[in-house]
């Protein structure tokens, strides 16, 4: 039965209920009326009274004839008047009904009244004619029998009427009982219907509950459930008792699956993952209870309660990581996807939000550790995160507060034995901490996107400085992969050149291979655009990372910078020297100059010179320094270094 029909039925039943109740009250009123009616039927009494008065008059008349009885005319007259009154009453009310039902009785009454009327002159005249009393008695005597018959007829009539009313009462009684019974029936039906209604509501409620607490795709409990359970579990924790753990996991590179196979496959994969999680995570394990939930996207969370040592969580995480390593077969595709897990244990007074955040932080670190693994949350992670937050806040203020400065490190052209250019390096003067190491803040400005406006500032600052330098000394500026993503890079470079008036050939842009890793086509076309402006492009930190030679082919670089790690260990390790030599040779074959970075000793200089590098950079020639301290000749620089 649909809810709508159901409501209609209930409405009808309630309507019937009301109608029955109203009808009952009508019946009660009718019954009252009938009962009152019954009490009004007293024709027998009227007839009896008439008969009795008739007899009394006869007596008085008889006494009157008998002188010495003391009954006078007045007494006879009073009795006569009373009888007249009685006779009159027989013409009225209920008695009239009786008479109408029977012509014989009507005749009797007429005769009675005629005869009574006939004796009036005799009674009025008693003083003059005492014998009138005797005559009156003779007139009245024949009425005795009919009057008694009338009285009994009246009695019977009254009885008949009472019986009729009793029948009516009985009928009303039955109607009343019937309606009362049907009221009870309707009530019972109503109760049954309401019960059913409640059940319908309960099941609807249950469905809603399921909707609100279950993830539609995988059928796993959702985050609401996990949160609730987590709250309860945390509230029930005892200081020295068993504890709980939240394991937060997400699929490695799930986005790639969505991108390459489509969302349908992605969803199927999520279902398969949920299935596999169910298979490898038992709901009960000794005292441990596990609750798997889908948090959204490709994120799942497992709540473990009743654990006694972290090892139990680690074992479960290891099992999950292992299980996820096996390929999934989805829509005829074989998909490899791993998972990373962050685990947080309830420590001290931790809130549900905090423990989830901790698990998330641990997950972040697990991913940073190379994915396909798990990490426990450590307080250090939180400290790092907080420190990073502080750093972020400070960095956002740094630009407007003028805390950034460019330092310049000379690059020596070996064949000219003179300063050929400077590499511009960003320095941050923290108002409290002083100079902050670039390795600490550069990743943050890249992650936060601050690098984009800051990069523009660096370009403009470097160009404006370089124009002051003699001999066409060039300036090298590092570009971050993030700047290439912003698309406005080419414009920024041309604007910096235009506003400073620096010849484009004096600007060198250093990029790492990570720039080429992303969206290759767009990046390469941007590089070409930059080249078209007349600026030079150098490949930085070559030899680290993939160092695929194909990068060198994908874009005609103007220069290769050999990573300083090779130079530093050249003296101790033959392989490093060999690599430096090879890259230098490669550069010369391709017609690209090669710069060796990190030259700190004269020996290293000799070695790279021998290897065939064209340029050198390092502390041996000078540390990065502010623009105002630049000397611009190697002689002066060497002097300065010696003095230092």
């Amino acid at each position: 039965m649909s809810l709508r029909t159901f409501k209609t039925v209930i409405a009808v039943v309630i309507g019937a209920f009301l109608v029955a109740a109203v009808y009952i009250s009508v019946l009660v009123v009718q019954r009252q009326g009938t009962l009152r009616q019954i009490s009004l039927y007293n024709p027998a009494w009227e007839a009896g009274q008439a008969t009795s008065e008739f007899m009394r008059l006869e007596h008085r008349l008889a006494d009157f004839t008998n002188s010495g009885s003391g009954v006078g005319r007045e007494e006879v007259e009073l009795r006569y008047e009373i009888l007249r009154g009685r006779a009159q009453i027989l013409n009225e009310g209920s008695f009239k009904d009786l008479l109408q039902s029977n012509p014989e009785h009507r005749a009797t009454l007429r005769e009675f009244q005629d005869k009574i009327a006939a004796v009036q002159p005799l009674i009025d005249d008693l003083d003059q004619r005492p014998q009138g009393a005797q005559e009156a008695l003779q007139i009245l005597a024949p009425l005795e029998a009919p009057l008694s018959q009338l009285a009994s007829a009246a009695h019977n009539h009254g009885a008949a009427l009472v019986q009729k009313d009793q029948h009516e009462l009985i009928r009303l009684h039955w109607a009343f009982s019937g309606i009362a019974a049907s009221l009870i029936l309707v009530g019972v039906i109503l109760i049954l219907l309401l019960d059913r209604h409640n059940r319908l509501l309960a099941s609807a409620h249950q469905e809603l509950h399921a909707l609100a607490h279950q993830d539609a795709l995988t059928g796993l409990p959702n985050r609401v459930v996990l949160r609730n359970q987590l709250e309860q579990a945390l509230a029930g924790l005892k200081p020295q008792g068993r504890t709980i753990a939240v394991s937060y996991l997400d699929l490695d590179h799930f986005k790639d699956v969505n991108d390459s196979f489509g969302h349908e496959t992605g969803d199927e994969l999520l279902k398969a993952v949920a299935e596999r999680l169910r298979d490898c995570i038992p709901a009960h394990e000794g005292q441990v209870r596990n609750l798997i939930s889908r948090f959204g996207g490709d994120e799942f969370a497992i709540l473990q309660t009743g654990i006694s040592k972290p090892g139990e969580s680690a074992a479960l995480a290891a099992r999950i990581v292992e299980a996820m390593r096996a390929p999934f077969s989805v829509n005829g595709q074989e998909i490899f996807i791993g998972t990373s897990i962050g685990i947080a244990l309830a420590q001290g007074h931790v809130t549900p939000s905090q423990i989830l955040k901790h698990a998330d932080m641990a997950l972040y670190h697990a991913k940073a550790d190379g994915r396909g693994t798990f990490r426990f949350f450590e307080q250090e992670m939180d400290v790092q995160l907080q420190a990073r937050r502080v750093l972020e806040v400070d960095l956002r203020k740094a630009a407007t507060n003028g805390e950034f400065e460019l330092f310049y490190q000379p690059q020596i052209n070996i064949s000219d034995n003179e300063i050929g250019g400077y590499e511009a390096l960003l320095r941050w003067h923290h108002p409290e901490r002083g100079l902050v190491p670039p390795a600490e803040f550069i990743p943050v400005i890249e992650d936060t996107g601050l690098i984009v406006p800051l990069g523009d500032w660096i370009l403009e600052q470097a160009c404006r400085e370089a124009i002051k330098w003699p001999r066409n000394i060039h300036v090298a500026v590092n570009l971050s992969p993030v700047q290439f993503r912003s698309r406005g890079l080419v414009q920024s470079v041309s604007r910096a050149l235009a506003s400073s008036g620096l010849a484009p050939s004096r600007l060198e842009l250093e990029i790492t291979e990570s720039v080429l890793l992303q969206d290759n086509e767009a990046t390469v076309s941007m590089l070409h655009d930059l080249r078209r402006l007349g600026v030079r492009i150098a490949m930085d930190d070559f030899g680290t990372g993939y160092s695929s030679l194909s990068y060198l082919r994908s874009f005609p670089f103007d220069k290769i910078k050999i990573d300083q790690s090779f130079v530093r260990e050249m003296s101790q390790r033959a392989d490093c020297l060999a690599i430096v030599q090879s890259v230098a040779n490669l550069g010369s074959s391709l017609g690209m100059p090669t710069v060796a970075e990190g030259i700190e000793t004269e020996e290293q200089l000799r070695q790279i010179q021998a290897a065939g590098c064209t340029d050198a950079q390092g502390y041996y020639f000078g540390r990065p320094m502010p623009a105002r301290d630049l000397v611009h000749t190697l002689a002066a620089l060497k002097h300065a270094v010696k003095v230092a």
């Binding site: 009152r36 009274q49 009073l78 009373i82 009154g85 009159q88 009310g93």
Partner: protein, 172 residues
């Protein structure tokens, strides 16, 4: 449904005066000059003959009449009765009882609680529709309640208390 109107006769002031006069003559009640039509006996303090209070029609009328217009079970349509308030009559004779037994000429008798008179303003009617009531038509005296004014009065209890051809009242 019609409502019975209880007309307070001439003026309330006159009533008060009558009550005062009644109290002043408490010890003695004038003797009826005409044939008595009502005899009050029993627990009364004001008498005029043989420990009873006897009234002729004129004595009753001189007490001041009030009017009740009402329907009754014994008449067609609305009827106007004029009579002496029973309450007032009882006070006049110094009645000191809980109930009265009313006896009719035909020796019909009925019992009425004394409280009825004050509560319902019952009257001892002398006239119906402006005419004295003859014995042959429920006269000369008829106890009338204002039936139309209160549904409670439209029951057999009060109809039975409404004695006609009233001749005697015994206070008990």
């Amino acid at each position: 449904m019609f409502r019975a109107k209880v007309k307070t006769g001439l003026v309330a002031a006159l009533l008060a005066l009558t009550a005062f006069v009644g109290a002043a003559y408490a010890a003695s009640l004038a003797m009826p000059t005409d044939r008595p039509i009502l005899t009050i006996s029993g627990k009364i303090s004001v008498t005029n003959k043989d420990n009873t209070a006897q009234f002729d029609r004129q004595m009753l009328e001189s007490m001041g009449l009030v009017t009740i217009e009402t329907t009754t079970p014994w008449h067609e349509g609305k009827v106007k009765f004029e009579g002496v308030p029973m309450d007032k009559l009882m006070k006049l004779v110094g009645a000191n009882g809980q109930r009265v037994v009313v006896v009719a000429l035909n020796d019909y008798s009925t019992e009425i609680p004394m409280a009825d008179f004050g509560k319902y303003n019952a009257i001892l009617a002398i006239k119906r529709n402006g005419e004295y009531m003859p014995v042959r038509d429920k006269g000369p005296l008829f106890i009338i309640y204002p039936y139309d004014s209160n549904p409670d009065l439209q029951t057999q209890t009060y109809y039975a208390r409404s004695a006609w051809q009233v001749a005697k009242i015994d206070v008990r």
